[in-house]
């Protein structure tokens, strides 16, 4: 259910991003910039998008992918998609 997913969204997303990127969950502060702070490049960002879509069964729009540049932005994209489900 979207409600259950939304309740734990921040922690779950951090774990997802950590798993795909190889970073520690503790490093994933909301405003940490993927490339500048975490070394997550555009290739990894696409892999994160693929993992997000698979886990949450949502569709991220093409134009949203380049916008996913921080942990907070990734969470915002997923939250919006789940709320619109």
């Amino acid at each position: 259910m979207p409600e259950d997913l939304l309740a734990n969204l921040e922690q779950d997303m951090k774990e997802l991003i950590a798993k795909v990127s190889g970073r520690d969950v503790e490093e994933l502060k909301p405003d940490a910039h993927f490339w500048e702070d975490l070394g997550i490049d555009s290739i990894k960002a696409i892999e994160i998008t693929v993992a997000i879509e698979k886990k949450y069964k949502i569709r991220v729009k093409d134009e949203q992918i380049p916008e996913i540049t921080t942990v907070a932005k990734a969470i915002e994209v997923v939250r919006e998609a789940l709320q619109n489900k």
Binding site: D41, S42, I43, I46, E47, T49, V50, D62, I65, P66
Partner: protein, 434 residues
């Protein structure tokens, strides 16, 4: 059981920034005669956008010996406008037919036609719509113009241009110039269009729907495509394509097009045609994830390449050269390198890998066919042109690129392409030993 028809290529007609016509084009590749110019889009004296691209020099449709009356008929239909990418298609078909020495003068020439392009007619249509909307609205409030009047005005003014954005009309125009009456198609599979078009032509020939087929693809780097690609963050701001490089910052458009003549081996031998190569087969896969982004981690591109090997009934160890899409954009290069190295192994010594966009730019819907033309000339001349601008290859990609032109006895080559919308494709060509 009927003998399987072998399909061969007997004519090549390229138009690109490195040169027009097969000989000038190949010389331009070997001489690295790259021509990158700046294009300014100016509106009322103000620069809207400027961008660099590989520009065709000295193109004049009247110099190709094409029936003047038929060109005038097209100009009449286009209300006096010269549509440059349509002219590229017509000129490239002419060059390819001349190179093949096929006679197309009569209406029963038995030739078919397959055209490929991504956005034919988009720019003139976009400009007309924008201009009219500007004229109708400037200095007025929206409420001053009833919606009905506005809609009718647009319809009357753009009826023909609107239909011209649909591609059947330009298939008609090009076919009519060359007296083509046999099975003909217009294909749009984004950047992979050229490889889809070759396969379609092969099927037309195998089904005896034509005795020869001209496959022709072109594209023109207009302002709308530039703005789209710039906003996607994949247009190189410095105008230099660096395939698979750590320093890559995107693609650069390239002007032009190319025609390729295909027929059966039997037909080519019967008329004593020069044969560039046999078209062995191709593989295709539609990833279907996003329009503008490849799905990193999927197996779609690998499946297309494997299917091409299977259809061609050839072992991967026999492939001498692979020419990848190589657009110089990190994620797409990574996606492509992963597919190639999954099939051929990391940093393979064979096949050689060389990407040709740095010579001619990214010709979009025409790119796969234009680069196939370079590959076919490489096969014929036993020279693999180097990949330009590849000093700093990204080590994560595990691909060696050809850094200096290589003389090598070549037998079998492969063109691959990963296009927008996930149209992944690969095609295999083999030298015909007579």
């Amino acid at each position: 059981m009927a003998k399987k028809q072998k399909i061969v290529i007997t004519g090549i007609g390229p138009i690109a920034s490195v040169g027009i016509g097969k000989d000038e084009f190949w010389k331009g590749i070997l001489d690295k005669n790259v021509n990158i110019e700046e294009e300014n889009c100016i509106l009322d004296g103000e620069v809207w956008e400027k961008f660099r691209f590989h520009k065709v020099k000295n193109f004049d449709i009247s110099r190709f010996g094409i029936d003047k009356q038929k060109l005038d008929d097209i100009r009449d239909w286009k209300e006096g406008e010269e549509i440059i990418d349509l002219n590229y298609l017509i000129a490239a078909v002419k060059l390819a037919l001349d190179d093949s020495r096929l006679n197309y003068e009569s209406d029963d020439n038995g030739i078919g036609l397959v055209l490929a392009h991504e956005n034919l007619g988009l720019m003139p249509f976009g400009f007309k719509v924008s201009n009219l909307a500007y004229e109708m609205l400037i200095g007025r409030q929206k409420s001053d113009i009833p919606k009905k009047v506005f809609f009718e005005g647009l319809y009357r003014k753009f009826l023909k241009s609107g239909y011209d954005v649909q591609t059947f009309a330009d298939l008609f125009h090009v076919a009519r110039v060359f007296n083509v009456h046999n099975y003909s198609l217009f294909i749009n599979n984004a950047c992979a269009s050229g490889l889809y078009a070759l396969e379609a032509a092969g099927q037309i020939l195998k089904n005896n729907q034509a005795k020869a087929v001209v496959v022709c693809a072109s594209d023109y780097p207009d302002i709308y495509k530039y703005v789209w690609f710039k906003e996607l963050g994949i247009y190189a701001h410095d105008g230099i394509i660096r395939p698979f490089s750590r320093d890559s910052n995107g693609l650069v458009f390239g002007d032009g097009g190319v025609g390729v003549v295909m027929e059966t081996l039997e037909s080519a031998q019967k008329r004593g045609a020069d044969i560039y190569a046999e078209y062995l087969g191709a593989g295709f896969n539609l990833e279907g994830w996003k329009i503008t982004v490849p799905q990193i981690g999927s197996n779609s591109y690998q499946e297309a390449i494997e299917q091409a090997l299977l259809q061609s009934n050839i072992d991967k160890k026999k492939i001498d050269v692979v020419c990848p899409h190589g657009i110089g954009s990190g994620p797409i290069d990574y996606y492509e390198a992963k597919a190639i190295t999954d099939i051929f192994g990391p940093n393979p010594k064979k096949p050689l890998i060389s990407a040709f966009k740095p010579y001619v730019g990214h010709n979009l819907g025409g790119s796969a066919l234009l680069e196939t033309a370079i590959l076919l000339l490489a096969l014929k001349n036993n020279i693999v042109p180097a990949t330009l601008n590849c000093k700093n290859i990204d080590p994560r990609f595990n691909v060696n690129l050809v850094k200096k032109n290589k003389n090598r006895k070549l037998k079998t080559v492969m063109k691959t392409c990963c296009a927008f919308a996930g149209f992944n494709a690969a095609a295999v060509f083999k030298k015909v030993e007579i």
